[in-house]
């Protein structure tokens, strides 16, 4: 191929280059105008790196001059934008990264001026808040890799959350709650699988039905039985924090990763396990083949329907675990609609993570970060109405999805029923 062809730049590419350049410059200016001008010179922002009650070795806190830091961030954004307009790089990932980094850092510097902000605390809560999101995302990954769409994760998690707390309270054993949540998740997913594989019901319709049913059923049970029964049905306690010896002593990383409860650890283990299973075992090879080209798998004697059943049901069980997080893994009681869209955000994490477990975890952490940022900022009492802060995770979801959707490639047969 001749090299001259490479020089042809399409109009859409040019437009994208200008778009990114301008956005970066605008963000740089906004950083300067909003945060920079509202930060007095000499104000120091303190970022706490220790967590009270944690086992980690103490390290000194990070103290930064707020205004200088903000100006530095603004300068980086503007320079990156100008460079982009002048030369243009192709990596939109880097540009988005710079955009997010400069904005978030200067935002934090501004919010933490003259105050102390616990960075470790926020990272730790990011990991915790990412847990139900990544479990939902893993459910999506495992189902859609076998080409079955399941957007009923939200409903599954809600029902699992409720079952978990009821069974755990009645039996007085949290593990009973955990197992029933996983079981109910698997059962509902099995119903979804049966409908869409056996009867070729539209996959979206079937899973929307699960969401509606989940919301309705849990609300009914909650108001009809749980509220009147009070503590006899709806007070299970939660899994205790387990500190991993030695590892939990690492500063910053220790409290963030190695001082969590069972559900959080299970989520991390599942991410790694799923990655290995998907790419290094026969089951994973077959799953990917079934999701990409089911007919090819079929002609080689792979049972397409069985693979899909297994994956969708396993996915449902993972979503069930995610549901358990909300009650027995977090607050010990059930409230209506307490999943608050985490199942859907999980699907966004799956797409952003390109249907890959590790990628899904990375994007879940971003959503978890947005979620915990919102909580911490309310504590700092910054002059932004808390209603707006509450929107943060959902706004991040929308921004990420608009930027990514269309570029991420789903499994080729995703959502299509298989006919022999």
């Amino acid at each position: 191929m001749k090299t001259t062809n490479r020089k042809i730049i399409s109009e859409s590419e040019k437009r994208q280059r200008v778009y990114f350049g301008v956005t970066l410059i605008v963000i740089g200016l906004l950083i300067y105008l909003i945060f920079g001008l509202n930060t007095p010179a000499g104000a120091m922002a303190t970022f706490g790196l220790n967590l009270s009650g944690a086992h980690a070795f103490e390290v000194p806190d990070l103290v930064l001059p707020a205004q200088t830091g903000i100006y530095a961030m603004a300068t980086i954004a503007v320079f990156a934008g100008a460079y982009q307009l002048a030369r243009g790089t192709r990596s939109t990932g880097w540009l988005t990264g710079i955009l997010a980094f400069t904005f978030v850092v200067s935002f934090l510097l501004w919010a933490a001026q003259d105050k102390s902000f616990s960075l470790t605390g926020m990272l730790s809560s990011s990991v915790v808040r990412a847990t139900p999101i990544v479990l939902a995302a893993l459910c999506g990954v495992i189902s859609e890799r076998a080409a079955v769409i399941n957007i009923g994760i939200e409903g599954i998690m809600l029902m699992a959350a409720q079952i978990a707390v009821i069974t755990a309270t009645l039996s007085g054993n949290l593990y009973v709650g955990l197992l029933s949540a996983i079981l109910i998740g698997g059962l509902i997913a099995a119903l979804h699988a049966y409908l869409v594989i056996r009867f070729k019901v539209d996959q979206t319709v079937s899973s929307v039905a699960i969401n509606i049913f989940g919301a309705g059923a849990t609300a009914f049970i909650s108001s009809r039985f749980m509220q009147s029964a009070g503590d006899t049905l709806n007070n299970s306690g939660t899994f205790p924090i387990i500190s991993i010896p030695l590892l939990s002593k690492i500063p910053v990383l220790g409290p963030v990763l190695f001082e969590n409860n069972l559900v959080v650890y299970l989520a991390i283990v599942l991410v790694i396990a799923m990655h290995i299973l998907l790419y290094y075992t026969p089951w994973g090879l077959r799953t990917r083949a079934v999701g990409e080209h089911p007919k090819a798998a079929d002609t080689l004697g792979v049972n397409v329907y069985l693979t899909r059943y297994v994956n969708v049901i396993l996915g449902g069980m993972i979503a069930g675990l995610g549901g358990a997080y909300f009650t027995i893994g977090s607050v010990g009681r059930f409230d209506e609609a307490m999943t608050a869209g985490k199942g859907f955000i999980g699907l966004a994490a799956m797409i952003f993570g390109n249907w890959n477990p590790i990628g899904a975890y990375a994007s879940s952490l971003i959503f978890g970060f947005a979620d915990s940022l919102q909580v911490k900022l309310q504590i700092l009492r910054i002059p932004i109405p808390s209603e707006f802060l509450l929107m943060a995770p959902y706004i991040v979801t929308m921004i990420i999805l608009t930027g990514v959707v269309g570029r991420a490639t789903p499994p080729a047969a995703d959502g299509q029923p298989y006919e022999k």
Partner: protein, 510 residues
């Protein structure tokens, strides 16, 4: 000589269709049996039964003298039967190794895929049969000819000694076909037996040891290739005498209808698949665009008909730029399009024939008045076209999806030709059609040419290109390799151009 495989009295019924009717065939050990028949003759059904994808209603399968039951691909594989499918059964985003091992994965520690072991075996098979391929390559990066090798390796990896090749040459260049025939030769020498399914007469005569011809689900007869000729085989296939050569006079080209200059187009995945294409189509001539599938033809045609945006370059229709014109504008200026995928882009299968017959002009009188459709003219238009273009259908009210491929194509041709057109863009106009329909469609295209219409025929079938064209452009990797005169062009020359080999003597003959 013993029969390694026999099918006796195989019958398969689908709702409303008798796909196989008491079919019996025999494959001799170490020989090539050619199974010849038109699309819809029941070849693929028969092979799918043999491979366990369908169950026969009657009949038996005998492998090496033993009657066997084949309930799925696994049973077939266990009997040493392997199939190379017409549409390759390969996962594009996986490597050669992963594709080969799928379904019978060897493992280390009983858990982890043992890719090295498979890759080693692939190299052994490559060496043994001359099937050069890189086990680590991704399928999506490989040319079609190599993908076919991977399919053959897949079969050999499963230790098949009876190979079914389903229309193996449909997607290959003439040179790749030569390569395939060499591979087939090596396979036979090492003791394999092969069933070769095709509808191409010349290939049958070139490779087969035995020929069995199917028509409408029945065995018409078997013939020794030494006694057979193309004409005899065609008559057996179609059931009547066919004219294999398109009768046409020399073209009398006039001024240009379509002028394309330095055109660049991206496909939906943003790959630049058309890279600086220039050509013109003149009134009263057929320009054939030859090339192996996937070299930018599809995107080029989409750009010409307004279905894909243009990255750079210009397109002029009768002197007017249609660079940014929407499809309807382009249609209204007299472009007719016979799309490559007739079922997805040419027809609405769930609409009745009478609606399909006016899809380009439904908003104009007489079919519409104001916002209301006018049933009477719609029906009479359809009745007339069905008669004129010999569409075989019970009536005009049945859905287009119920027609056979040939009749669906006739509906499209009828619709497109029923309005005044200046340029006809026909993409793979006879793909998958039976010999009779091909004959008919070709005649219609030549008729349009003789009426002074400019015609662009895009086809991956060289025979079709040679039969119809007055000039031939060859496209390779999105670029026109050369434009040659059809009267002097040879198949070999075109084949080399299609494979990307520049010929200095051909490129001058513009």
């Amino acid at each position: 000589m013993t029969n390694v495989l026999e099918l006796r009295g195989i019958t398969k019924r689908f709702p409303g269709v008798l796909a196989n009717d008491q079919i019996s065939i025999a494959l001799r050990e170490g020989k090539i049996l050619a199974l010849l028949g038109e699309n819809g003759a029941g070849k693929s059904t028969l092979m799918n039964i043999l491979y366990g994808l369908y169950q026969p209603d009657e009949g038996e399968i005998i492998v090496r003298g033993q009657k066997v039951d084949i309930h799925g691909p696994n049973d077939a594989i266990a009997q040493g039967i392997g199939m190379v499918h017409q549409h390759f059964m390969l996962v594009p985003v996986m490597t050669v190794t992963e594709n080969v091992m799928l379904g019978i994965e060897p493992t280390r520690n009983r858990v982890f895929l043992d890719k090295e072991k498979v890759a080693k075996r692939i190299r052994e098979i490559s060496d043994q049969y001359g099937l050069e391929v890189d086990p680590q390559a991704y399928i999506k990066d490989l040319p079609v000819g190599i993908q076919q090798r991977v399919e053959i390796i897949k079969v050999l990896y499963r230790q098949a000694d009876i190979l079914i090749l389903d229309e193996p040459t449909a997607v290959l260049t003439p040179q790749e076909v030569e390569g395939l025939f060499k591979i087939i030769d090596t396979l036979i020498k090492s003791g394999k037996s092969i069933i070769f399914i095709t509808h191409k007469l010349k290939e049958v005569l070139a490779v087969a040891d035995d020929i069995t011809v199917l028509r409408l689900g029945k065995v018409v007869g078997s013939i020794d290739p030494k006694e057979a000729t193309s004409e005899i085989l065609a008559t057996m296939m179609v059931g009547r005498d066919v004219n294999l050569v398109v009768q046409k006079e020399n073209a009398k080209p006039a001024g240009p209808v379509l002028v394309v200059e330095n055109l660049y187009v991206r496909d939906e995945r943003q790959h630049m698949t058309v890279q600086g294409v220039s050509f013109e189509v003149r009134q009263g001539e057929v320009l054939g665009l030859a090339g192996v599938q996937g070299n930018g033809q599809t995107e080029l045609v989409y750009a010409l008909t307004g279905l894909l945006p243009i990255d750079a370059g210009s397109i002029h229709l009768l002197g007017e730029s249609i660079r940014h014109a929407p499809p309807r504008k382009i249609l209204e200026r007299g472009v007719a399009h016979i799309p490559e995928d007739r079922q997805r882009h040419g027809l609405i299968l769930s609409f009745p024939i009478h609606d399909n017959m006016m899809l380009c002009t439904y908003y104009q009188p007489p079919f519409a008045r104001g916002i209301a459709l006018q049933p009477a003219p719609i029906f009479s238009n359809a009745e007339e076209l069905v008669k004129q273009y010999d569409v075989r259908t019970p009536n005009i009210y049945v859905n287009a999806g119920t027609l056979s491929g040939g009749n669906q194509q006739k509906v499209i041709v009828a619709r497109e030709f029923s309005r005044p057109i200046k340029l006809l863009v026909a993409s793979q106009p006879t793909r998958g059609l039976d010999v009779g329909s091909i004959e008919y469609i070709h005649k219609q295209i030549i008729k349009k040419r003789d009426e002074g219409c400019g015609v662009l025929v895009v086809s991956s079938e060289l025979d079709e290109i040679l039969a119809l064209s007055d000039r031939i452009a060859v496209i390779y990797k999105g670029q026109i390799m050369a434009i040659v005169d059809a009267n002097t062009a040879t198949k070999e020359q075109l084949g080399l151009l299609m494979a990307g080999v520049h010929l200095s003597e051909t490129s001058n003959k513009n």
